[in-house]
Amino acid sequence: MRFSPALAALLLLFTLGACATRPPASDPEALAEFLETNDPLEPANRAVYAVNGVLDAAVLRPVAVAYRWVLPQPVRTGVRNVLGNLRGPTILANDLMQGEMQRAGITGARFLINSTLGVAGVFDVAERHFGLRGHSEDFGQTLAVWGVPEGHYLYVPVLGPTNSRDLIGFGVDSVLSPWFWFGQGAAVEALRYSRVGVTVVDAREGVLDTLDQIERTSLDPYAVIRSGYRQRRAAEIANTGFQAPEAAFGTGIGVGPGLPSPRREGAPAR
Protein backbone atom coordinates (compact mmCIF):
# COMPACT_ATOMS: atom_id res chain seq x y z
CA MET A 1 0.00 0.00 0.00
CA ARG A 2 2.42 2.66 -1.11
CA PHE A 3 0.21 5.26 -2.71
CA SER A 4 2.09 8.42 -1.84
CA PRO A 5 3.46 9.51 -5.25
CA ALA A 6 0.16 8.84 -7.01
CA LEU A 7 -1.76 10.56 -4.25
CA ALA A 8 0.53 13.58 -4.31
CA ALA A 9 0.12 13.91 -8.06
CA LEU A 10 -3.63 13.63 -7.63
CA LEU A 11 -3.81 16.32 -4.96
CA LEU A 12 -1.72 18.57 -7.18
CA LEU A 13 -4.12 18.00 -10.05
CA PHE A 14 -7.09 18.92 -7.88
CA THR A 15 -5.44 22.05 -6.53
CA LEU A 16 -4.37 23.21 -9.97
CA GLY A 17 -7.54 22.10 -11.67
CA ALA A 18 -10.13 24.64 -12.66
CA CYS A 19 -13.19 24.95 -10.47
CA ALA A 20 -16.78 24.83 -11.64
CA THR A 21 -18.42 28.24 -11.71
CA ARG A 22 -20.69 28.82 -8.79
CA PRO A 23 -24.02 30.24 -10.00
CA PRO A 24 -24.79 33.77 -8.74
CA ALA A 25 -27.15 34.30 -5.83
CA SER A 26 -29.62 35.88 -8.28
CA ASP A 27 -30.36 32.39 -9.60
CA PRO A 28 -31.40 30.57 -6.41
CA GLU A 29 -32.52 27.38 -8.13
CA ALA A 30 -29.27 26.97 -10.04
CA LEU A 31 -27.36 27.72 -6.84
CA ALA A 32 -29.39 25.17 -4.88
CA GLU A 33 -28.65 22.54 -7.49
CA PHE A 34 -24.95 23.45 -7.51
CA LEU A 35 -24.78 22.99 -3.74
CA GLU A 36 -26.82 19.79 -3.90
CA THR A 37 -24.55 18.31 -6.57
CA ASN A 38 -21.56 19.11 -4.33
CA ASP A 39 -19.08 18.92 -7.17
CA PRO A 40 -17.18 22.23 -7.30
CA LEU A 41 -14.16 20.41 -8.75
CA GLU A 42 -16.23 19.06 -11.62
CA PRO A 43 -13.86 20.09 -14.45
CA ALA A 44 -10.90 18.34 -12.75
CA ASN A 45 -13.08 15.36 -11.84
CA ARG A 46 -14.33 15.05 -15.39
CA ALA A 47 -10.74 15.15 -16.66
CA VAL A 48 -9.78 12.31 -14.32
CA TYR A 49 -12.95 10.46 -15.33
CA ALA A 50 -12.00 10.72 -18.99
CA VAL A 51 -8.42 9.56 -18.45
CA ASN A 52 -9.59 6.78 -16.17
CA GLY A 53 -12.13 5.72 -18.78
CA VAL A 54 -9.36 5.25 -21.35
CA LEU A 55 -7.20 3.29 -18.91
CA ASP A 56 -10.21 1.26 -17.82
CA ALA A 57 -11.14 0.36 -21.39
CA ALA A 58 -7.52 -0.56 -22.15
CA VAL A 59 -6.62 -2.49 -19.01
CA LEU A 60 -9.03 -2.88 -16.13
CA ARG A 61 -12.19 -3.84 -17.97
CA PRO A 62 -10.50 -6.42 -20.24
CA VAL A 63 -8.82 -7.95 -17.18
CA ALA A 64 -12.17 -8.11 -15.37
CA VAL A 65 -13.84 -9.68 -18.42
CA ALA A 66 -11.06 -12.24 -18.69
CA TYR A 67 -11.27 -12.96 -14.98
CA ARG A 68 -14.99 -13.67 -15.29
CA TRP A 69 -14.43 -15.76 -18.39
CA VAL A 70 -11.57 -17.87 -17.07
CA LEU A 71 -12.71 -18.59 -13.54
CA PRO A 72 -16.03 -20.33 -12.88
CA GLN A 73 -18.57 -18.71 -10.60
CA PRO A 74 -17.84 -20.81 -7.47
CA VAL A 75 -14.14 -19.92 -7.64
CA ARG A 76 -14.90 -16.21 -8.02
CA THR A 77 -17.30 -16.43 -5.09
CA GLY A 78 -14.54 -18.05 -3.03
CA VAL A 79 -12.12 -15.27 -3.96
CA ARG A 80 -14.70 -12.65 -3.03
CA ASN A 81 -15.34 -14.41 0.28
CA VAL A 82 -11.63 -14.45 1.11
CA LEU A 83 -11.31 -10.73 0.36
CA GLY A 84 -14.39 -10.01 2.46
CA ASN A 85 -13.02 -12.08 5.32
CA LEU A 86 -9.70 -10.23 5.19
CA ARG A 87 -11.68 -7.03 5.68
CA GLY A 88 -13.31 -8.54 8.79
CA PRO A 89 -11.06 -6.85 11.35
CA THR A 90 -11.50 -3.49 9.58
CA ILE A 91 -15.29 -3.87 9.56
CA LEU A 92 -15.20 -4.91 13.22
CA ALA A 93 -13.15 -1.86 14.19
CA ASN A 94 -15.58 0.41 12.38
CA ASP A 95 -18.64 -1.30 13.89
CA LEU A 96 -17.12 -0.65 17.32
CA MET A 97 -16.19 2.95 16.54
CA GLN A 98 -19.79 3.54 15.47
CA GLY A 99 -21.07 2.03 18.71
CA GLU A 100 -22.90 -0.72 16.82
CA MET A 101 -22.30 -3.49 19.34
CA GLN A 102 -24.68 -6.04 17.88
CA ARG A 103 -23.27 -5.61 14.39
CA ALA A 104 -19.75 -5.79 15.84
CA GLY A 105 -20.64 -9.10 17.48
CA ILE A 106 -21.85 -10.49 14.16
CA THR A 107 -18.72 -9.29 12.35
CA GLY A 108 -16.43 -10.77 15.02
CA ALA A 109 -18.23 -14.12 15.03
CA ARG A 110 -18.22 -14.24 11.24
CA PHE A 111 -14.48 -13.61 11.13
CA LEU A 112 -13.75 -16.38 13.64
CA ILE A 113 -16.07 -18.92 12.02
CA ASN A 114 -15.13 -18.21 8.41
CA SER A 115 -11.38 -18.06 9.10
CA THR A 116 -11.49 -21.54 10.63
CA LEU A 117 -14.47 -23.62 9.50
CA GLY A 118 -14.66 -21.60 6.30
CA VAL A 119 -11.06 -22.49 5.37
CA ALA A 120 -9.39 -19.07 5.52
CA GLY A 121 -12.61 -17.40 4.43
CA VAL A 122 -13.21 -19.30 1.19
CA PHE A 123 -16.64 -20.49 2.31
CA ASP A 124 -19.16 -18.26 4.04
CA VAL A 125 -20.04 -20.89 6.63
CA ALA A 126 -21.16 -18.19 9.08
CA GLU A 127 -24.05 -17.20 6.88
CA ARG A 128 -24.92 -20.60 5.47
CA HIS A 129 -24.89 -22.58 8.71
CA PHE A 130 -25.14 -19.98 11.45
CA GLY A 131 -27.38 -17.44 9.78
CA LEU A 132 -24.91 -14.62 10.40
CA ARG A 133 -25.26 -12.29 7.44
CA GLY A 134 -22.32 -10.09 6.68
CA HIS A 135 -22.40 -6.35 6.23
CA SER A 136 -19.82 -3.79 5.32
CA GLU A 137 -18.45 -0.77 7.11
CA ASP A 138 -15.56 1.53 6.41
CA PHE A 139 -13.95 4.50 8.07
CA GLY A 140 -15.68 6.93 5.70
CA GLN A 141 -19.01 5.71 7.13
CA THR A 142 -17.65 5.94 10.66
CA LEU A 143 -16.62 9.56 10.06
CA ALA A 144 -20.12 10.23 8.71
CA VAL A 145 -21.68 8.70 11.83
CA TRP A 146 -19.42 10.97 13.88
CA GLY A 147 -20.86 13.92 12.03
CA VAL A 148 -18.03 14.68 9.61
CA PRO A 149 -19.46 16.18 6.39
CA GLU A 150 -18.62 14.49 3.11
CA GLY A 151 -16.52 17.31 1.71
CA HIS A 152 -16.35 17.67 -2.05
CA TYR A 153 -17.19 14.94 -4.49
CA LEU A 154 -14.08 13.46 -6.07
CA TYR A 155 -13.43 11.11 -8.94
CA VAL A 156 -10.08 9.39 -8.55
CA PRO A 157 -8.31 6.87 -10.81
CA VAL A 158 -9.06 3.18 -10.19
CA LEU A 159 -11.09 3.87 -7.03
CA GLY A 160 -13.67 5.82 -8.99
CA PRO A 161 -16.31 7.96 -7.27
CA THR A 162 -15.58 9.14 -3.74
CA ASN A 163 -15.40 12.34 -1.70
CA SER A 164 -12.85 13.97 0.60
CA ARG A 165 -14.24 12.19 3.67
CA ASP A 166 -14.45 8.75 2.08
CA LEU A 167 -10.99 9.09 0.50
CA ILE A 168 -9.49 9.86 3.91
CA GLY A 169 -11.54 6.95 5.29
CA PHE A 170 -10.04 4.70 2.66
CA GLY A 171 -6.53 5.69 3.70
CA VAL A 172 -7.31 5.18 7.38
CA ASP A 173 -8.89 1.77 6.69
CA SER A 174 -5.73 0.62 4.92
CA VAL A 175 -3.62 1.56 7.92
CA LEU A 176 -6.21 0.30 10.40
CA SER A 177 -6.03 -3.20 8.96
CA PRO A 178 -3.90 -5.67 10.92
CA TRP A 179 -2.59 -6.98 7.58
CA PHE A 180 -0.89 -3.64 7.11
CA TRP A 181 1.22 -4.25 10.22
CA PHE A 182 1.79 -7.98 10.55
CA GLY A 183 4.74 -9.72 9.03
CA GLN A 184 7.61 -8.58 6.91
CA GLY A 185 9.84 -9.82 4.15
CA ALA A 186 9.45 -10.31 0.45
CA ALA A 187 6.77 -12.99 0.73
CA VAL A 188 4.51 -10.88 2.89
CA GLU A 189 5.02 -7.86 0.66
CA ALA A 190 4.14 -9.98 -2.36
CA LEU A 191 0.96 -11.15 -0.61
CA ARG A 192 0.00 -7.57 0.21
CA TYR A 193 0.41 -6.48 -3.37
CA SER A 194 -1.50 -9.50 -4.65
CA ARG A 195 -4.36 -8.70 -2.31
CA VAL A 196 -4.57 -5.16 -3.68
CA GLY A 197 -4.44 -6.48 -7.24
CA VAL A 198 -7.08 -9.15 -6.70
CA THR A 199 -9.31 -6.68 -4.86
CA VAL A 200 -9.24 -4.28 -7.80
CA VAL A 201 -10.00 -7.05 -10.32
CA ASP A 202 -12.77 -8.52 -8.16
CA ALA A 203 -14.35 -5.11 -7.58
CA ARG A 204 -14.21 -4.28 -11.30
CA GLU A 205 -15.74 -7.64 -12.21
CA GLY A 206 -18.50 -6.99 -9.68
CA VAL A 207 -19.61 -3.79 -11.39
CA LEU A 208 -19.02 -4.99 -14.95
CA ASP A 209 -22.69 -5.26 -15.93
CA THR A 210 -23.78 -2.15 -14.07
CA LEU A 211 -21.11 0.07 -15.61
CA ASP A 212 -21.65 -1.39 -19.08
CA GLN A 213 -25.35 -0.66 -18.71
CA ILE A 214 -24.72 2.95 -17.60
CA GLU A 215 -22.24 3.43 -20.42
CA ARG A 216 -24.75 2.10 -22.93
CA THR A 217 -27.93 3.86 -21.84
CA SER A 218 -26.90 7.03 -20.06
CA LEU A 219 -26.77 10.49 -21.60
CA ASP A 220 -24.07 11.50 -19.12
CA PRO A 221 -22.45 8.54 -17.35
CA TYR A 222 -20.35 10.85 -15.17
CA ALA A 223 -23.45 12.53 -13.71
CA VAL A 224 -25.22 9.18 -13.23
CA ILE A 225 -22.28 7.70 -11.32
CA ARG A 226 -21.95 10.82 -9.20
CA SER A 227 -25.60 10.84 -8.22
CA GLY A 228 -25.69 7.09 -7.69
CA TYR A 229 -22.59 7.10 -5.51
CA ARG A 230 -23.89 9.81 -3.22
CA GLN A 231 -27.31 8.21 -2.81
CA ARG A 232 -25.88 4.80 -2.17
CA ARG A 233 -23.40 6.11 0.41
CA ALA A 234 -26.22 7.88 2.22
CA ALA A 235 -28.13 4.58 2.39
CA GLU A 236 -25.03 2.68 3.51
CA ILE A 237 -24.31 5.17 6.27
CA ALA A 238 -27.89 4.99 7.53
CA ASN A 239 -27.65 1.16 7.55
CA THR A 240 -31.27 1.12 6.45
CA GLY A 241 -33.54 1.22 3.50
CA PHE A 242 -31.81 -1.39 1.44
CA GLN A 243 -29.82 -4.51 1.77
CA ALA A 244 -26.34 -3.64 2.91
CA PRO A 245 -23.64 -4.91 0.60
CA GLU A 246 -22.17 -8.08 1.93
CA ALA A 247 -18.88 -8.00 3.70
CA ALA A 248 -17.10 -9.19 0.62
CA PHE A 249 -18.25 -6.40 -1.55
CA GLY A 250 -17.52 -3.61 0.72
CA THR A 251 -14.08 -3.40 -0.71
CA GLY A 252 -14.00 -0.06 1.01
CA ILE A 253 -13.21 1.53 -2.30
CA GLY A 254 -15.73 3.65 -4.07
CA VAL A 255 -16.54 1.37 -6.93
CA GLY A 256 -20.22 1.13 -6.12
CA PRO A 257 -21.82 3.25 -8.78
CA GLY A 258 -25.11 3.25 -6.96
CA LEU A 259 -27.10 1.03 -9.19
CA PRO A 260 -27.42 -2.62 -8.23
CA SER A 261 -24.38 -3.45 -6.20
CA PRO A 262 -22.37 -6.57 -6.85
CA ARG A 263 -23.52 -9.51 -4.80
CA ARG A 264 -22.62 -13.13 -4.67
CA GLU A 265 -24.68 -15.24 -7.02
CA GLY A 266 -27.23 -17.31 -5.25
CA ALA A 267 -26.95 -15.38 -2.02
CA PRO A 268 -30.34 -14.91 -0.45
CA ALA A 269 -31.40 -11.29 -0.61
CA ARG A 270 -33.13 -10.60 2.63
Binding site: P24, S227, G258, P260
Partner: protein, 205 residues
Amino acid sequence: MTARHRLSRRALLALPAALAPLAARAQHMDAQRATAFIQSTGEELVAVLNSNAPVAERREQVAAILRRAVDIEGTGRFILGRWWRVATPAEQQEYLRLFEESLIRNLASRFGEFQGVRFSIGRSQARTEEDVLVTTLVERPNTAPLTLDWRVAEVGGQPKIVDLVAEGSSLRLTQRSEYSSVIQRGGNQVSALLAAMRAQNERLR
Protein backbone atom coordinates in the same frame (compact mmCIF):
# COMPACT_ATOMS: atom_id res chain seq x y z
CA MET B 1 -28.50 34.53 -19.47
CA THR B 2 -29.92 37.52 -17.59
CA ALA B 3 -33.27 37.00 -19.26
CA ARG B 4 -33.35 33.50 -17.87
CA HIS B 5 -32.46 34.74 -14.41
CA ARG B 6 -35.34 37.17 -14.48
CA LEU B 7 -37.58 34.44 -15.76
CA SER B 8 -36.63 31.97 -13.04
CA ARG B 9 -37.08 34.57 -10.34
CA ARG B 10 -40.51 35.33 -11.65
CA ALA B 11 -41.18 31.62 -11.87
CA LEU B 12 -40.13 31.24 -8.26
CA LEU B 13 -42.60 33.87 -7.15
CA ALA B 14 -45.30 32.00 -9.01
CA LEU B 15 -44.26 28.72 -7.38
CA PRO B 16 -46.83 28.54 -4.55
CA ALA B 17 -49.62 29.07 -7.05
CA ALA B 18 -48.18 26.44 -9.34
CA LEU B 19 -47.84 23.91 -6.53
CA ALA B 20 -51.38 24.31 -5.22
CA PRO B 21 -53.01 21.94 -7.75
CA LEU B 22 -50.21 19.42 -7.13
CA ALA B 23 -50.93 19.38 -3.43
CA ALA B 24 -54.60 18.94 -4.11
CA ARG B 25 -53.84 16.10 -6.49
CA ALA B 26 -51.70 14.18 -4.02
CA GLN B 27 -53.98 12.01 -1.95
CA HIS B 28 -53.31 9.44 0.69
CA MET B 29 -52.16 6.20 -0.86
CA ASP B 30 -53.35 3.00 0.72
CA ALA B 31 -50.47 0.54 1.29
CA GLN B 32 -52.58 -2.51 0.51
CA ARG B 33 -53.87 -1.01 -2.68
CA ALA B 34 -50.34 -0.06 -3.74
CA THR B 35 -49.09 -3.59 -3.07
CA ALA B 36 -51.95 -5.18 -5.00
CA PHE B 37 -51.24 -2.78 -7.87
CA ILE B 38 -47.54 -3.70 -7.99
CA GLN B 39 -48.44 -7.40 -7.76
CA SER B 40 -50.79 -7.28 -10.73
CA THR B 41 -48.61 -4.94 -12.82
CA GLY B 42 -45.56 -7.07 -12.07
CA GLU B 43 -47.36 -10.24 -13.10
CA GLU B 44 -48.43 -8.66 -16.38
CA LEU B 45 -44.91 -7.43 -17.06
CA VAL B 46 -43.27 -10.76 -16.21
CA ALA B 47 -45.75 -12.61 -18.44
CA VAL B 48 -44.82 -10.40 -21.40
CA LEU B 49 -41.08 -10.56 -20.68
CA ASN B 50 -41.17 -14.34 -20.57
CA SER B 51 -43.43 -14.87 -23.57
CA ASN B 52 -42.14 -16.20 -26.86
CA ALA B 53 -43.83 -13.53 -28.94
CA PRO B 54 -41.70 -11.59 -31.44
CA VAL B 55 -39.73 -8.67 -29.96
CA ALA B 56 -41.82 -6.03 -31.72
CA GLU B 57 -45.02 -7.49 -30.33
CA ARG B 58 -43.59 -7.72 -26.82
CA ARG B 59 -42.40 -4.14 -27.02
CA GLU B 60 -45.93 -3.01 -27.87
CA GLN B 61 -47.32 -4.94 -24.90
CA VAL B 62 -44.68 -3.57 -22.53
CA ALA B 63 -45.36 -0.05 -23.82
CA ALA B 64 -49.08 -0.46 -23.07
CA ILE B 65 -48.37 -1.65 -19.53
CA LEU B 66 -45.92 1.17 -18.82
CA ARG B 67 -48.30 3.82 -20.20
CA ARG B 68 -50.99 2.52 -17.89
CA ALA B 69 -48.89 1.91 -14.76
CA VAL B 70 -46.34 4.74 -14.75
CA ASP B 71 -47.13 8.39 -14.06
CA ILE B 72 -45.12 9.35 -17.13
CA GLU B 73 -46.09 13.02 -17.14
CA GLY B 74 -45.58 13.59 -13.40
CA THR B 75 -42.33 11.65 -13.28
CA GLY B 76 -41.07 13.29 -16.47
CA ARG B 77 -41.78 16.75 -15.04
CA PHE B 78 -40.13 15.85 -11.73
CA ILE B 79 -37.02 14.70 -13.57
CA LEU B 80 -36.79 17.82 -15.73
CA GLY B 81 -37.10 19.80 -12.50
CA ARG B 82 -36.29 23.49 -12.76
CA TRP B 83 -35.78 23.21 -16.51
CA TRP B 84 -39.46 22.43 -17.09
CA ARG B 85 -40.37 26.10 -16.73
CA VAL B 86 -37.44 27.17 -18.89
CA ALA B 87 -38.63 24.90 -21.70
CA THR B 88 -41.09 26.21 -24.29
CA PRO B 89 -44.49 24.46 -24.47
CA ALA B 90 -43.33 22.74 -27.67
CA GLU B 91 -40.16 21.54 -25.93
CA GLN B 92 -42.21 20.29 -22.97
CA GLN B 93 -44.37 18.20 -25.28
CA GLU B 94 -41.40 16.88 -27.20
CA TYR B 95 -39.62 16.09 -23.93
CA LEU B 96 -42.53 14.06 -22.53
CA ARG B 97 -42.82 12.16 -25.79
CA LEU B 98 -39.08 11.35 -25.81
CA PHE B 99 -39.16 10.48 -22.11
CA GLU B 100 -41.93 7.94 -22.61
CA GLU B 101 -40.16 6.50 -25.63
CA SER B 102 -36.87 6.16 -23.75
CA LEU B 103 -38.58 4.32 -20.88
CA ILE B 104 -40.05 1.80 -23.29
CA ARG B 105 -36.95 1.44 -25.45
CA ASN B 106 -34.67 1.01 -22.47
CA LEU B 107 -36.73 -1.85 -21.16
CA ALA B 108 -37.21 -3.36 -24.62
CA SER B 109 -33.45 -3.31 -25.26
CA ARG B 110 -33.03 -5.55 -22.22
CA PHE B 111 -35.59 -8.23 -23.08
CA GLY B 112 -32.82 -10.80 -23.37
CA GLU B 113 -31.60 -10.11 -19.84
CA PHE B 114 -35.06 -10.51 -18.39
CA GLN B 115 -35.76 -13.89 -19.93
CA GLY B 116 -36.88 -16.18 -17.11
CA VAL B 117 -37.43 -13.34 -14.63
CA ARG B 118 -39.49 -13.95 -11.48
CA PHE B 119 -40.51 -11.53 -8.78
CA SER B 120 -42.06 -11.59 -5.34
CA ILE B 121 -43.45 -8.90 -3.09
CA GLY B 122 -41.45 -8.10 0.02
CA ARG B 123 -42.48 -6.05 3.02
CA SER B 124 -44.25 -2.88 2.08
CA GLN B 125 -44.15 0.36 3.95
CA ALA B 126 -45.68 3.79 3.70
CA ARG B 127 -42.91 6.30 3.35
CA THR B 128 -44.66 9.63 3.11
CA GLU B 129 -48.13 11.09 3.25
CA GLU B 130 -48.65 10.67 -0.46
CA ASP B 131 -46.85 7.56 -1.56
CA VAL B 132 -45.99 4.03 -0.63
CA LEU B 133 -42.77 2.17 -1.26
CA VAL B 134 -43.48 -1.41 -2.30
CA THR B 135 -40.49 -3.75 -2.06
CA THR B 136 -40.03 -6.56 -4.57
CA LEU B 137 -37.40 -9.20 -4.98
CA VAL B 138 -36.49 -9.74 -8.61
CA GLU B 139 -34.82 -13.00 -9.56
CA ARG B 140 -33.26 -13.89 -12.88
CA PRO B 141 -31.51 -17.10 -13.86
CA ASN B 142 -27.73 -17.01 -13.26
CA THR B 143 -27.89 -13.57 -11.73
CA ALA B 144 -27.93 -12.45 -8.13
CA PRO B 145 -31.40 -11.55 -6.85
CA LEU B 146 -32.11 -7.86 -6.78
CA THR B 147 -34.24 -5.79 -4.43
CA LEU B 148 -36.31 -3.17 -6.24
CA ASP B 149 -38.57 -0.70 -4.43
CA TRP B 150 -41.46 0.82 -6.35
CA ARG B 151 -42.79 4.17 -5.22
CA VAL B 152 -46.52 4.25 -5.83
CA ALA B 153 -48.66 7.40 -5.62
CA GLU B 154 -52.28 8.08 -6.38
CA VAL B 155 -52.62 10.10 -9.55
CA GLY B 156 -56.05 11.02 -10.84
CA GLY B 157 -57.67 8.40 -8.59
CA GLN B 158 -55.41 5.61 -9.88
CA PRO B 159 -52.28 4.12 -8.32
CA LYS B 160 -49.27 4.91 -10.47
CA ILE B 161 -45.55 4.18 -10.28
CA VAL B 162 -43.58 7.39 -9.73
CA ASP B 163 -40.12 6.06 -8.90
CA LEU B 164 -37.96 2.97 -8.81
CA VAL B 165 -35.39 2.57 -6.04
CA ALA B 166 -32.56 0.09 -6.51
CA GLU B 167 -30.38 -0.48 -3.46
CA GLY B 168 -30.90 2.92 -1.93
CA SER B 169 -30.58 4.76 -5.22
CA SER B 170 -33.64 6.46 -6.68
CA LEU B 171 -33.95 6.31 -10.44
CA ARG B 172 -35.80 9.62 -10.71
CA LEU B 173 -33.21 11.47 -8.60
CA THR B 174 -30.36 9.98 -10.61
CA GLN B 175 -32.07 10.81 -13.87
CA ARG B 176 -32.81 14.38 -12.77
CA SER B 177 -29.13 14.86 -12.05
CA GLU B 178 -28.21 13.29 -15.40
CA TYR B 179 -30.64 15.39 -17.47
CA SER B 180 -29.74 18.61 -15.70
CA SER B 181 -26.08 17.94 -16.34
CA VAL B 182 -26.74 17.40 -20.05
CA ILE B 183 -28.68 20.68 -20.23
CA GLN B 184 -26.01 22.66 -18.39
CA ARG B 185 -23.22 21.24 -20.49
CA GLY B 186 -25.27 22.07 -23.57
CA GLY B 187 -25.18 25.78 -22.67
CA ASN B 188 -28.29 25.71 -20.45
CA GLN B 189 -30.43 24.73 -23.43
CA VAL B 190 -33.26 22.23 -23.01
CA SER B 191 -32.88 21.54 -26.73
CA ALA B 192 -29.47 19.99 -25.97
CA LEU B 193 -31.19 17.39 -23.80
CA LEU B 194 -33.85 16.73 -26.42
CA ALA B 195 -31.17 16.16 -29.06
CA ALA B 196 -29.31 13.75 -26.76
CA MET B 197 -32.53 11.87 -25.95
CA ARG B 198 -33.43 11.63 -29.63
CA ALA B 199 -30.00 10.22 -30.47
CA GLN B 200 -30.23 7.79 -27.57
CA ASN B 201 -33.66 6.52 -28.60
CA GLU B 202 -32.33 6.09 -32.11
CA ARG B 203 -29.43 3.99 -30.82
CA LEU B 204 -31.78 1.77 -28.83
CA ARG B 205 -33.96 1.14 -31.83
